[in-house]
Amino acid sequence: MNLAHLHLLLNHFPIIGTIVGLGLFLISLFGKNDDLKRAGLIVLAVMALLSLPTFFSGIGAEGAIQQLPGVSEPLIDRHEGAAILALFFMEITGALALIGLWQSHKFSRPAPWNVVAVLLLSLITMGLMARVGTTGGDVRHPEIWGSSTPPADDGTLDSIVHTFEPSPAKFTRLMTANKFWWAFMMDVHFIGLVMIIGAVGALDLRMLGFAKQISIASLHRLVPWALAGFALNVTTGVLAFIGMPEFYTYDVAFWIKIVGILLLGLNAAAFYLTDTFNVVEHMGPGEDAPPAAKIIAASSLVLWFGVITLGRYIQPYQNTFSGR
């Protein structure tokens, strides 16, 4: 398997998943079903997470095919520009979905502003993702070109959307033009790291039996702080990737780090979607968490420190494998 293969495996998730998430969310509004609403929000948040490796594998896919006959650079660039724009909207949608999930946890349903924002943003994301799919198909599937040879954004809506799509090469230069901008992004990435480890670490340690005088429920209030740190790090991480795509793409430490982050998504699912969260949330000060909660807390700690480790080793492991 190479990165082109990985890209083809992953690229259906953001497109179809956004439709499924939005669909569940819409049905929940008509049926007034709060569980269904949560399911829709969860699907959208998962898609925001899965969109990251989908996007990251695109550069490797480009490297694998750009020398092949019949592959056009402008078509790849158009696809990549569309992908960057769609990714931004997908990540904002994912962040709004997590805010909605937090609100449903605290007030039993998302706030009205959140419902409107999720609807609007996921609708836009769905449209943009469809365009990413089409422009991506254009790269390798001339049979869908139709009457005109792409890149022809002559449909009115397509040409309007296209004006908002960045040029990948210009974006890359913009991120690396000033070393202090880069230093600032890395600085924010470290501050995000501290926010995540501070909050998640405290919660995990408590579940493992540390500082038992504090109830787990009260420490769980730190989760939005951790998510804010995660949002900072997704933002700065994606911008850094756009700044030096080849540096990260062929780096084994980078890819295992991404796998670690996806596993942390599974870890969160094991915590919230089983009975575990329900049990520990109702435990008072001094009470010992059940073994399932301890296993989840320990694996969360191991995974987060693993993610830091792999991030630290990105630099020495650049160019660990080749594109083709």
Binding site: K179, A183, F190, A211, Q213, L222, P285, I308, Y313
Partner: protein, 167 residues
């Protein structure tokens, strides 16, 4: 201005050379990794206590957060050690950069605040939460500012140095 010779002496030592030149993943990057772990433990735990003293997360009881000071000191121990090792690897790079001294000054002040928090805010067992907040809020604010400053200065060391090695 001539740079002091001891910088070159340190760089020529076998440990310093090994840190810089070894291909082993357990050389320079391993020490740097633990410097990041220490940062996460020290500032992660300290920032929680700071935020709580500033009135965030009011549902968390204040006094038991005392337990987190041990984590901060473990983090500080890791970072003092790994910091000296990193300095041994690149003494000229660090000591000829004013940002490095700014970083040390901010860490020194933040640690001084940490000890004040521990002694003056979290020591007494009979002090009420209101008292703790009143005593700790200003310290907490400065602690956050100094830690953000120290992290930023540390990051800037990678972008602002004048020499990498003794010229």
């Amino acid at each position: 201005m001539a740079l002091p010779m001891f910088l070159q002496t340190i760089e020529d030592s076998s440990f310093s050379t090994w840190m810089r030149e070894s291909e082993s993943p357990f050389a320079f990057y391993f020490v740097l990794l633990f410097h990041t772990f220490g940062l996460a433990l020290l500032v992660g735990a300290n920032s929680l206590v700071d935020l709580r003293l500033l009135g965030f997360f009011p549902s968390i009881p204040l006094a038991p957060l005392k337990r987190f000071f041990r984590i901060m000191w473990i983090g500080f121990g890791i970072n003092a050690t790994t910091g000296v090792l990193l300095l041994t690897a690149y003494p000229t790079k660090a000591l000829t950069n004013p940002v490095f001294y700014a970083k040390l000054a901010m860490i020194g002040s933040a640690i001084w605040i940490l000890t004040k928090l521990q002694k003056e805010v979290f020591a007494g067992t009979t002090v009420t939460e209101r008292d703790m907040l009143a005593r700790g809020a200003t310290l907490a604010k400065w602690s956050l500012v100094l830690w953000v400053g120290a992290i930023s200065a540390g990051r800037l060391l990678a972008y602002t140095f004048r020499y990498i090695l003794y010229p």
